[in-house]
Symmetry: C2
Subunit: 375 residues, 2 copies
């Protein structure tokens, strides 16, 4: 019986984690829940699951004897075996560090944790013997392919669906509405991730995550378009042999695997792959011209220091401006570029310097956007 804390239980990954946990009442027990925006859903989850610990960013009315703790206190609590970091943005950073320092198993879905502070997170995880289990489908795929292998991968190939506007011209992209952008062709995901998926920023952030998770240089990471989202990523080894992990797109599979690792549990709710029904898997090179956000992310990743934090924060604000109808989809890359250009990067930054860069970037995008709107 594994005792699980779910930080970000009301988001897309959080809800799917509860779905997986619910399928194995003899294996997993939810001991803590934490939520930010959707306090009504959090209250409902708490009432239903009766966890011992709760964190809510907003005041909620719960009928439960649950102890109210901060996310960091929950992440480090002795009653917790595994912490699911399903928060978004920088919210997961300090709880992840707390879990690492308490030597917990950490199932990580919050991209920004590694994008912002990959160096700190991975070196502390090593120091404290904490295990980081990726939940992103791409990183879960790479992790599964690396099992039992002694040698470092020669190359990691991240697959990208290309999003709902793949192949469209810059003119067409400039006219895309938030509603259109939120209809992802293959994956059920949160709003921010869905927009990042359309711009391929998502894939750039995943390259940065992969760099830290698997200690692989950026020039050994390749990104290819694979519209069907069946192969979730591939690993090429020194001898030229390549391994891939496949499934129908369903986030519950990588979530379940992170929870049950190293075991694999049969789950009748998860779809089984039938390749003869899929018929064909296709692969295309990425046209960098069509995806300026991907290029920006890879450059920021290679640059390192505070650059990925600035990229990530600028993207978050720019995506929100787009979702609020205050910027075009094609403005996102432009807003990030202008922000990064103004940034004076810090090499080997502390957590405080990273968070300061994040705040600076958010303000800078707002300023640029306002001037743009007023001029």
């Amino acid at each position: 019986m594994k005792s699980i804390a779910i930080l970000g239980s009301t988001g897309s990954i959080g809800q799917q984690t509860l779905d997986v946990v619910g399928a194995f009442p003899d294996r997993f027990r939810v001991v803590a829940l934490a939520g930010r925006d959707n306090s009504a859903l959090l209250a409902k989850q708490v009432a239903q699951l009766q966890p011992r610990m709760v964190y809510s960013a907003k005041a909620i009315d719960i009928h439960s004897p649950a102890e109210s703790l901060s996310m960091e206190e929950i992440a480090a609590h002795p009653d917790v075996d595994l912490v699911v970091i399903a928060t978004s943005g920088k919210a997961g950073l300090r709880p992840t560090l707390a879990a690492i320092r308490a030597g917990k198993q950490i199932a990580l879905a919050n991209k920004e944790v590694l994008v912002l502070a990959g160096k700190i997170i991975t070196s502390e995880a090593k120091q404290y013997g904490a295990q980081i289990l990726p939940i992103d489908s791409e990183h879960s795929a790479i992790w599964q392919c690396l099992h039992g292998e002694q040698s470092q991968p020669a190359r990691i190939i991240l697959t990208a669906s290309g999003g709902p506007f793949y192949g469209q011209s810059p003119e067409q992209l400039a006219k895309v509405t938030p509603k259109e952008a939120l209809s992802h062709p293959t994956w059920k995901m949160g709003r921010k991730v869905t927009i990042d998926s359309a711009t391929l920023m998502n894939k750039g952030l995943e390259a940065i995550e992969a760099h830290w998770l698997f200690s692989i240089p950026f020039d050994h990471i390749e990104i290819i378009i694979h519209r069907q989202s069946i192969i979730h990523s591939l690993v090429e080894f020194a001898d030229g042999s390549t391994k891939a992990q496949l499934s129908f797109p369903d986030m519950r599979l990588p979530i379940q695997y992170a929870l049950s690792y190293p075991e694999r549990l049969p789950n009748a709710h998860l779809p089984h792959l039938n390749l003869t029904k899929v018929k064909a898997l296709t692969f295309e090179p990425v046209n960098p011209g069509q995806f300026p956000c991907l290029k920006l992310a890879l450059e920021a990743g290679k640059e390192g220091g505070t650059c990925p934090a600035v990229l990530s924060a600028a993207d978050e604000v720019a995506v929100n401006l787009f979702l609020a109808g205050k910027a075009r989809l094609t403005d996102i890359a432009e807003l990030i570029t202008q922000t990064i250009t103004r940034h004076h990067p810090v090499v080997n930054p502390s957590l405080e310097e990273i968070l300061a860069a994040d705040i600076w970037a958010r303000q800078t995008v707002e300023d640029i956007a306002k001037r743009k709107i007023t001029c």
Copy 2:
């Protein structure tokens, strides 16, 4: 430095093994060679590599101080670390058993060893702690996908190219010449394997091998047509996650992997996969009506006992009749069916009973074919 014996060094797998060994002079040393038909090539190999031990089925004129030993003596010799069984037909059976009983690493390319005596081979390998490392591309793929996994596979999916006549009608198949049948679309292989690949007998024999190598029931083995021969096979796990191994078709990769296992060695001679050049991987269900040999093999595998030996021997003779222009491609299944129908299977046979069934089957096919030709 690993000391390697290559039994069947003049065949297709044997020659490709020498190619791999030659690429790593600091890692592998050839200490023994054995050949059957091509004594001129064997003499050349011996002169070039100066192995300590040689076996030749025919008298050869070698200028070497090599000791002349039987294949069984070579396989069990204390100077040998790893034995490559690259023989064909039943020739590999006794040498494999000798290597097992001497606790050697065995790189196995000779399908019939497991098809004829899978039960004996796998139980003796367990008893003597001998490691069987598959060289067939499909089984190497499955083996690579199983690395690091704790749980048994839920399903094994063997991929089949479909051979050069995929999609043709029985009428068209009846007119195929040996020369046409020997032009395999993707793999460089021996003559017998190439014909078996066209009839899908090869895939049926591989299912029997997989059954023994990975202790998997036949109803958990699926066969799908994958014309590009890039995915060499797949494994589905209990949670619905599927892993695949991919490469451009080149037998040197699984050969090298069996020799270097558990390490992976960079080899500039081996091709690297570029999926964006391949563009698409396709998958189709097998039409059992088009491939009666596959159906026969799966039935014989499930039946067990001496049935797979009879199937395999009957197929070998029938393929030779086709290659000699004495039978049509479509007669192969018919000749095997008639032979199996006449067979009285032995359950849990000894090695002697298996070899007796083999001899009986060969004679029976010849008899049936002669009557057919005369009537």
